[in-house]
């Protein structure tokens, strides 16, 4: 067992982990941050995406020990300081960008990372960036639309509802 320490959603967090403990396990099991989900075992689905030092990372593909000393942000840390939804979160609600909600934390984390890198992405850039996030409910229509709206683009012409 090794001790790891990191900053998670602005707060110091530490714990004893096995060498094989994944970051996503540490977040879910040690810190009880269950908003980060596990949807596969081959690093494909993206339900576990978090930010590590500002970059989108699949938390199932990183050992907890590798995140020692890092700044980690999860879906629980995405709302504004006053508790209101962030621009991306609000856009997902406004445009019905989620149904069952299971992929949603990863989608929000990826979308936020995309907009930090590229504040005004095209539809094609959004679709390409989401290559590592699978959603089975929405057919992606409203996810892409929500991200365009979060970037401040006019989405009124895309489709009714």
């Amino acid at each position: 067992m090794a001790q790891v320490s990191m900053t998670v959603n602005g707060k110091a967090a530490s714990g004893d982990v096995e060498g094989r403990t994944l970051l996503v396990q540490f977040l879910r099991e040690n810190l009880h941050l269950t908003g980060t989900h596990v949807g596969c075992d081959t690093s494909q689905c993206g339900a576990c995406v978090v930010h590590v030092n500002g970059k989108a990372v699949k938390a199932c593909t990183m050992l907890a020990a590798e995140a020692d000393g890092a700044e980690v942000r999860t879906i629980e840390g995405m709302a504004n300081a006053d508790g209101s939804l962030s621009t991306v979160q609000q856009a997902f609600q406004d445009h019905h960008g989620l149904q069952c909600g299971f992929c949603t934390p990863g989608m929000v984390m990826s979308a936020s990372a995309l907009l930090a890198e590229n504040p005004n992405p095209t539809e094609a850039e959004i679709r390409a960036y989401l290559e590592g996030n699978i959603c089975r409910c929405t057919g992606y229509h409203n996810i892409v639309k929500a991200i365009m709206a979060a970037a401040g683009q006019d989405v009124s012409k895309i489709a009714a509802e």
């Binding site: 494909q44 709302a79 019905h96 299971f102 699978i134 089975r136 992606y140 895309i158």
Partner: protein, 784 residues
């Protein structure tokens, strides 16, 4: 001006707040004090004799509490099948046993052999590797037609063959149908495969069993679309626990698409083991396990023939289908290729004679059961593909051929035993031509050709039977359950309302949409109404969510219960205002005496019900809570017309979807935003089936597509924005809301639209799903 509340409005979903902030409560988020973890050792061969399972070394591994094998379930029931199909000779289907853990034989890769329960998940997995298995591998049967040959290895030794049933429908129509083919001016024949799919809700299945020694009660937390059904099946048939000692909770569930309807071995195991060990037992599926243990979908091999007269009127349809059941009968598996498939073969068309033959076959593969659409996509795919092929053979416009044969008079009794109450197929096709800009297609085709690309247009219609189902009818057809739904409307003293429903929401937005209905009826704010679902301890018996039934059946139960509430509340209001209850009207959250300015507020009436100081106690009881069970009198029949435009790169075989349009008639719409979302998702899954997804076994029964590395799930870059419309409305005539259901339409209507477009682009009569670049390239080289 769109409405901002009530029926027809699109309020933002209230469930989104928890899902967007990471505070949802999915089953894997539940951890109980003293919880143990189970790992299932699964067969890695498709078919084998289980000579010995030696757990001696494994049992001594660190943290291991107990290892269970099939022998531990000797006195326990097997997993039941909920539907008995009768074959064309009047005999019941062959129905093999389905043990919780394998007994004597393993029958598919993934069949659970042993269950290791340990203090940690890792310890359970480590110990499972130390179990010594002696399995004598047997020849496997994978191909359905090979499985039916004389001398083929038998999946179940106790059965006479691998044939589950040979079903003919409608048997009395067979001779006349054959005669019509003899007299046809033209016959179009198509052989096709409806590819095997894995449902893949993003949340893998999870089960947590708990047992309370002080009350002798078991609780199962599970990823289910229908917790009451699981309680019934597991309690009555597997473990012998009466309902009052068994609670099943399905909290937030991360998608279902059918595969979370069924009762699974892991659920029964965790409940059983928790009782044995007196500690909670948790199982969380990995995605790899999901591929080999979640029931799969589709997997039909079909020959369809369409007969036409000299004027291109459809005169008869004849089909022969082989339907894969897999190694065991999953909960509703027998009903999918029969009553959910044969009854839909009329589609949107006047075809006087139809005969459907289905042979259901056991193979050494994962069980196959309902997946989004369940039988109806298979029916639609055959019919809409053969019509397109006929149009091309005859040199007629495929839309004109459809229009010419549309059913236009309703109600319409089909030759396959159902009666469509309403529909307007001309209107949805007109709407489709408009929203898909079909008149602009030729210009777009030329533009694609100028870039060196091939462009194709595919159009099709669909009909489905939703709102399942009338209990007395399905009982005659072999269902071992009723298919009503229940609702309890509990009005609290301060006027807020809790609605307990047997429907389950796992993405459909019930918590937002259902209050819109009740708010409309009572004229109160939606925020006063909360939907409670997913817990057998909270609501009355319910049948759950599948078959686009939640609003049509569950919503109807809510309407009936709310009507009872209104009737009683009127009596209270009448008493408070010293009026006759016949004169009371409900409007804007108040009870008015008709023709006067007298009124009493909703909250005053509800308070009086619970503080009955001034109350007609001699006539009615205190309190304001009502329950209704609604059993539909017919199915509902949503319909629509879809169009797809594809572009093909002839050098690589890569296909891109340039436009996709859907014009649906869902009857009345409660929440247009949610309806559009359901259609988007269905189209995404249908495109997945047609373009990308296919579950593949090799000849030995090894699952070649066992993870997201091998099974191609649709990604955002595989699909376009969709144009959807549901402004064509013919309300359902037999339920109080006039609704039909929208959950499966997209998945039913989109595969034939895509393949019709692709065959148009390629100039071929058929191409198999999924249309991978290799298949497309081969088709272009004439190598198919």
């Amino acid at each position: 001006m769109p409405k901002d509340h009530g029926i027809g409005a699109s309020p933002k979903r209230r469930e989104d707040l928890r899902f967007l902030t990471g505070t949802g409560n999915y089953t894997d988020d539940i951890n109980l004090y003293g919880q143990l973890y189970v790992h299932f050792l699964r067969s890695d061969v498709a078919h084998g004799k289980l000579n010995k399972v030696d757990t001696t070394d494994a049992a001594a591994m660190p943290g291991v509490v107990r290892i269970f094998t099939g022998a531990d379930f000797a006195g326990v029931g097997g997993l039941p099948c909920g539907w008995q199909v009768t074959d064309k000779h009047g005999q019941p289907m062959q129905e093999p046993g389905h043990p919780v853990l394998a007994q004597g034989k393993v029958r598919h890769v993934g069949d659970p052999i042993a269950a290791v329960v340990a203090e940690t998940y890792e310890q359970a997995r480590d110990a499972a590797e130390a179990i010594a298995l002696d399995i004598e591998e047997l020849p496997a049967v994978i191909d359905m037609k090979a499985a039916l040959k004389d001398g083929a290895p038998k999946v179940h030794d106790e059965l006479t063959s691998n044939l589950c049933y040979d079903w003919g429908f409608v048997e009395e129509n067979k001779a006349a149908t054959d005669e019509a083919f003899k007299n046809a001016a033209h016959v179009t024949t198509l052989e096709l495969v409806n590819n095997r799919l894995v449902a893949n809700p993003m949340e893998p299945r999870v089960a947590v069993g708990d047992y309370n020694r002080s009350t002798d009660e078991s609780t199962l937390y599970t990823t289910s679309q229908n917790p009451h059904v699981i309680r019934l099946l597991m309690g009555a048939f597997v473990l012998g626990i009466p309902e009052h000692k068994l609670r099943v909770v399905a909290p937030d569930v991360g998608g279902g698409f059918g595969t979370k309807i069924f009762h699974y071995a892991e659920e029964a195991f965790c409940t059983f083991a928790a009782r044995q060990l007196k500690r909670p037992v948790k199982w969380t599926s990995t995605r790899s396990e999901a591929f080999m243990s979640d029931a799969h979908g589709r997997d039909h091999v079909t020959k369809i023939e369409l007969a036409l007269d000299k004027d291109n009127n459809f005169t008869a349809i004849r089909t022969e289908t082989y339907a894969n059941m897999g190694a065991y009968l999953s909960t509703f598996a027998p009903s999918v290729p029969t009553w959910l498939h044969g009854t839909l073969m009329a589609g949107n068309y006047r075809t006087p004679l139809i005969y459907v033959n289905v042979k259901a076959v056991f193979t050494n593969t994962v069980p196959v059961d309902a997946y989004r659409g369940a039988g109806r996509p298979e029916a639609t795919y055959q019919l809409e593909r053969v019509i397109d092929k006929a149009a091309r053979e005859l040199g007629v416009d495929p839309i004109k051929l459809r229009r010419q044969n549309f059913i236009t008079q309703f109600p319409y009794a089909t030759p396959v035993a159902v009666e469509y109450d309403t529909g307007n197929y001309v209107a949805t096709m007109d709407k489709l031509e408009e929203i898909a800009d079909l008149s602009g297609f030729e210009a777009r085709r030329k533009a694609s050709e100028a870039k060196g690309k091939l462009r194709g247009l595919g159009v099709n219609c669909y009909i489905e039977a939703c709102g399942i189902a009338p209990s007395n009818l399905v009982g005659q057809l072999g269902a071992r359950a009723g298919l009503y739904e229940s609702a309890t409307v509990r009005v609290n003293a301060t006027g807020s309302i809790s609605v307990m429903t047997g429907s389950h929401s796992h993405g459909q937005g019930h918590e937002t949409a259902f209050p819109q209905v009740i708010a409309e009826m009572l004229g109160i704010d939606e925020s006063m109404i909360e939907i409670v679902h997913g817990d057998t301890a909270k609501g009355p018996m319910g049948m759950g969510t599948y078959g686009s039934r939640s609003l049509a059946v569950g919503g109807s139960a809510m309407v009936r219960a709310t009507e009872k509430i209104i009737n009683k509340a009127k009596k209270i209001a009448a008493h408070l205002m010293e009026a006759s209850d016949a004169d009371i009207e409900v409007k804007d959250g108040k009870f008015h005496v008709a023709g006067t300015d007298k009124s009493v507020a909703w909250g005053d009436v509800t308070l009086a019900a619970y503080v009955p100081h001034n109350y007609p106690l001699e006539d009615i009881e205190p309190g304001l809570e009502e329950t209704a069970f609604y059993d539909p009198s017919n199915f509902t029949y949503p319909s629509g017309a879809y169009a797809c435009e594809v572009e093909v790169d002839p050098d690589t075989g890569r296909v891109t979807i340039e436009r996709f349009s859907a014009a649906d008639d869902f009857g009345n719409i409660i929440n247009p935003m949610i309806v559009s979302g359901q259609v988007h998702g269905g189209i995404g899954q249908g495109i997945g089936q047609a373009l990308l997804e296919g579950c593949v076994y090799d000849d030995n029964g090894q699952l070649l597509t066992g993870s997201y590395m091998d099974y191609a799930m649709p990604r955002a870059s595989d699909v376009p924005f969709y144009t959807v419309d549901h402004s064509c409305v013919t309300p359902c005539t037999h339920n109080p809301l006039g609704v039909k259901g929208c959950g499966e339409a997209g998945a039913i209507g989109s595969p034939p639209a895509f393949i019709n477009a692709l065959t148009d682009a390629l100039g071929v009569r058929d191409i198999a799903m999924p249309a991978t670049p290799e298949r497309v390239w081969r088709a272009l080289q004439g190598l198919v």
